[in-house]
């Protein structure tokens, strides 16, 4: 392996001297840049920063160089993150290209497919969306009906997908479609890549009870994909889809504090306790309301336990143990814990948690109310808690069907 220290030095040189020299100001660590044909810029320099980093493959540090990646090993990648943190720089690029379809292509793609798609992901040229769920295929994903019919060297796609995250902002979609209705439902499913910028594809945002619209419905009427964008072959899409779902579940687990989140919450004082003090006052240095104080302690302790379990899991992986279906517990517990945290915050704020907009409520109150409403979906999206419990019962506990 290369000498980590020399790597750090040349990286620092690039980040501290060369980049500023070329770009002038660099974007701050806040605000994610998702790239794409119609990129949203959290900072005027976000795109140029991304491109400059991409030249060295630093948007996808561990991907092989031949596909535009940085070809770094784990230690070097850690150094990169450390340096970015040290210099207060953001990740140059985020998105489902890097987190979902990229790794999937590296695992299942042909040489041509990798060469065609990975470099564009690395450079942030294409923003990707996921086409999985359908109105009648939620927990029972394999019963999907959106169809792809072979027509020469193209596939003709009809049907509907739902819960497409940021579908209205995406350029290409990776998804699963039915190419054969006979036989077992898991068979006859094909994993496809398709360009969403075509007449046969229509995207409609879905408004949630929280008022936000992070998801979309996608309608296909004779949309077209090229057969060279079939991943892992006709009828073998289910294998690819399941592998990708694994990445997704772990990703969600991370978001809900199994990673940094919950751990930092604890280390950086206790915001719940601060909120309680603010709304309930204190007596003798303690939160004045003993029941809510106890509830704050309970949630804080559960978050600490959850973070410790995530650390134990990470330490076990470092020690060479394989990740198993136990990781389902992070999805279940992390999302439910987030919901409980929000319910607690409602209780702490009392009637001030009831605002939707306008006078009488401050911004944090209004935001928290919406976050609470949004959190109700956490235990549904990305595999419901019920499905996760089934997985644990079957694959971890070995209980019979």
């Amino acid at each position: 392996m290369t000498d980590v220290e020399s790597f750090r030095r040349e990286l620092a040189e690039f980040l501290e001297r060369e980049l500023p020299a070329r770009l002038g100001t660099l974007p701050p660590a806040t605000g994610d840049y998702w790239g794409g044909r119609r990129p949203e810029l959290p900072h005027p320099q976000s795109q140029r920063y991304c491109e400059a980093m991409a030249e060295r493959g630093l948007t996808a540090p561990t991907w092989p160089r031949e596909y535009g990646g940085g070809g770094l090993d784990k230690d070097q990648a850690k150094v990169l993150l450390a340096e970015l943190r040290r210099l207060g720089l953001p990740l140059p690029l985020v998105g489902f290209g890097l987190s979902m379809i990229g790794p999937t292509l590296l695992q299942f793609g042909t040489e041509d497919q990798k060469r065609e798609h990975l470099p564009k992901i690395v450079r942030g040229e294409i923003r990707w969306a996921q086409g999985y769920s359908e109105p009648n295929a939620g927990s029972d994903l394999a019963s999907l009906q959106a169809s792809a019919r072979i027509d020469g060297d193209e596939l003709v796609i009809n049907g509907q997908k739902v819960w497409t995250s940021y579908g209205d902002k995406a350029d290409w979609m990776f998804g699963i479609f039915r190419t054969d209705s006979g036989g077992k439902k898991q068979e006859g499913i094909t994993f496809l890549l398709l360009d969403m910028a075509q007449p046969g594809v229509e995207v409609r945002p879905i408004k949630l009870i929280s008022g936000a619209s992070p998801f979309c419905e996608t309608f296909f009427s004779d949309a077209r994909a090229h057969t060279r964008n079939i991943i892992h072959g006709i009828g073998h899409g289910w294998t690819v889809a399941k592998a990708l779902l694994g990445h997704e579940r772990n990703m969600i687990g991370d978001v809900f504090g199994s990673g940094s989140g919950a751990r930092n919450k604890v280390i950086a004082g206790n915001p719940l306790a601060e909120l309680a003090r603010d709304y309930l006052g204190e007596q003798g240095g303690r939160i004045a309301d003993p029941l809510l104080r106890d509830w704050v302690a309970q949630v804080s302790m559960d978050e600490r336990c959850f973070a410790l379990t995530a650390q134990r899991n990470a330490d076990a992986l470092k020690a060479g143990q394989k990740p198993g279906p136990e990781s389902s517990i992070f999805k279940i517990y992390g999302t439910e814990l987030n919901q409980r945290r929000h319910e607690l915050q409602l209780a702490l704020r009392g009637p001030q948690c009831l605002g939707w907009e306008g006078p009488g409520f401050d911004d944090r109150e209004l935001q928290q109310t919406r976050d609470w409403l949004r959190s109700r979906g956490n235990t549904i999206e990305g595999g419901t808690s019920e499905i996760q419990l089934n997985i644990i019962a079957k694959h971890v506990l070995g209980l019979p069907d």
Binding site: I209, G360, F361, R376, I380, E381, L389
Partner: protein
């Protein structure tokens, strides 16, 4: 106390459900919300409720009412809860109206209660500030002596049904301080009075609410409800009555949310079967059903106890509000989870119940507040 409906009550319940319940009614609330309707409810609907006599239920005949009680009120509010009817029946009639009926002079009743029962004027009651939480001794309006009377100054928040109301029952602090039961006086203040401004508030349930600001509003002896400085008792009494009316509404709301969820469990198919056939979901549904049954008993008992003014009436009010708060929120959360993704969409109606559940929980005291009150009233 008989925990069973009389024939008249059964009839009233049926009529009420015909008029205000049913799925169309949620569409009505949705429309009022999406068109940003200025009032947030339909005056003509409210007038219709008056025609049917519902607004007169909790008042004596000499006050122009029907001389019935909360046992009947909760049947009306249960139907309103099922249909998420936004009309201010509870705040205008049960809360403010009853305050005028119990504490008002002949003039007050002539000028305000009569028209309120007739559905021609809308009353509201203002007693809570932004940091008062559920404590009825922490009123945000201060009354300072001025000439023969008082000047009222301060801001009340989340005044239910308070936007475009014609007059307000205002709980003001005439003496003492937060925590004191003495020194609170209820005044009847017309919306037109100088120094009165109300501003629409938008809460998650899309029902009518307002922030009421009083700036040196002049009031006199003639505007006092009940005895000056002695308003806490009256306020507690009408809040108890409105709380029971609200638990009736909550019972209707959670029953409707539960029924819709059951329907979804029967219809929604995954893995080739109705998801209602999965035992884990069956058991959860059965547990919710138990909560519903216990909730109904609590509401019926609290209403009858208040009507009979029995010794443990206030305890039963807290029993009902604590249980309904927990049960409605539980059922609402489970309703979304069991609906899955579709339940998270604004397009689906179930979300309206989830939002109404929270507002109801936080109105007139949450479960913890009422457990504490139940214990205190029980002498421990």
């Amino acid at each position: 106390m008989q925990l069973v409906l009389t024939e008249d009550q059964t009839l009233l319940s049926r009529t009420a459900n015909e008029l205000v319940a049913g799925s169309a009614s949620v569409a009505r609330l949705r429309k009022l919300r999406d068109t940003r309707d200025e009032r947030g409810y339909a005056l003509d609907r409210f007038a219709r409720m008056a025609e049917l006599g519902w607004t007169g239920i909790p008042f004596t005949e000499q006050d122009g009412g029907l001389g019935m009680g909360l046992a009947e009120v909760v049947l009306v509010t249960e139907a309103m809860g099922r249909g998420l009817a936004p009309e201010p029946y509870i705040p205008a009639i049960v809360l403010a109206g009853r305050a005028v009926a119990l504490g008002g002079s002949a003039q007050h009743k002539g000028a305000w209660l009569g028209p309120a029962i007739a559905g021609e004027k809308v009353l509201a009651l203002a007693h809570a500030g932004r940091r008062g939480r559920f404590d009825l001794t922490r009123v945000p309006i201060r009354a300072t002596p001025a000439g023969g009377g008082f000047r009222l100054t301060g801001q009340a928040t989340q005044v239910w049904g308070g936007h475009l109301a014609d007059a307000y029952v205002v709980a003001a602090r005439t003496a003492g301080q937060d925590g004191d039961r003495d020194g609170i006086t209820l005044f009847l203040v017309p919306a037109q009075a100088r120094g009165v401004t109300s501003e629409r508030q938008h809460r998650i349930d899309s029902l009518n609410a307002a922030q009421l600001t009083l700036e040196a509003v002049e009031v006199g002896e003639a505007d006092v409800l009940g005895r000056g400085g002695d308003g806490h008792g009256l306020l507690t009494r009408v809040v108890d009555e409105a709380t029971v009316a609200l638990t009736g509404e909550m019972l209707g709301g959670m029953s409707e949310a539960f029924d819709r969820t059951l329907g979804y469990l029967r219809e929604r198919r995954q893995f080739g079967v109705a998801i209602g056939s999965f035992q884990a979901l069956k058991h959860r549904a059965a547990r919710l059903y138990i909560e519903l049954e216990l909730s109904r008993s609590a509401v019926m008992a609290a209403a009858r106890a208040l009507d009979a003014q029995s010794a443990d009436a206030s305890q039963l009010v807290s029993l009902a509000k604590a249980r309904l708060s927990d049960a409605y929120c539980l059922i609402a959360n489970e309703a979304i989870q069991l609906h899955g993704g579709i339940g998270m969409t604004d397009e689906h109606d179930i979300g309206f119940f989830v939002k109404r559940a929270r507002v109801s929980e936080m109105t007139f005291g949450d479960a913890a507040y009422h457990r504490d009150r139940f214990a205190a009233l029980g002498g421990y």
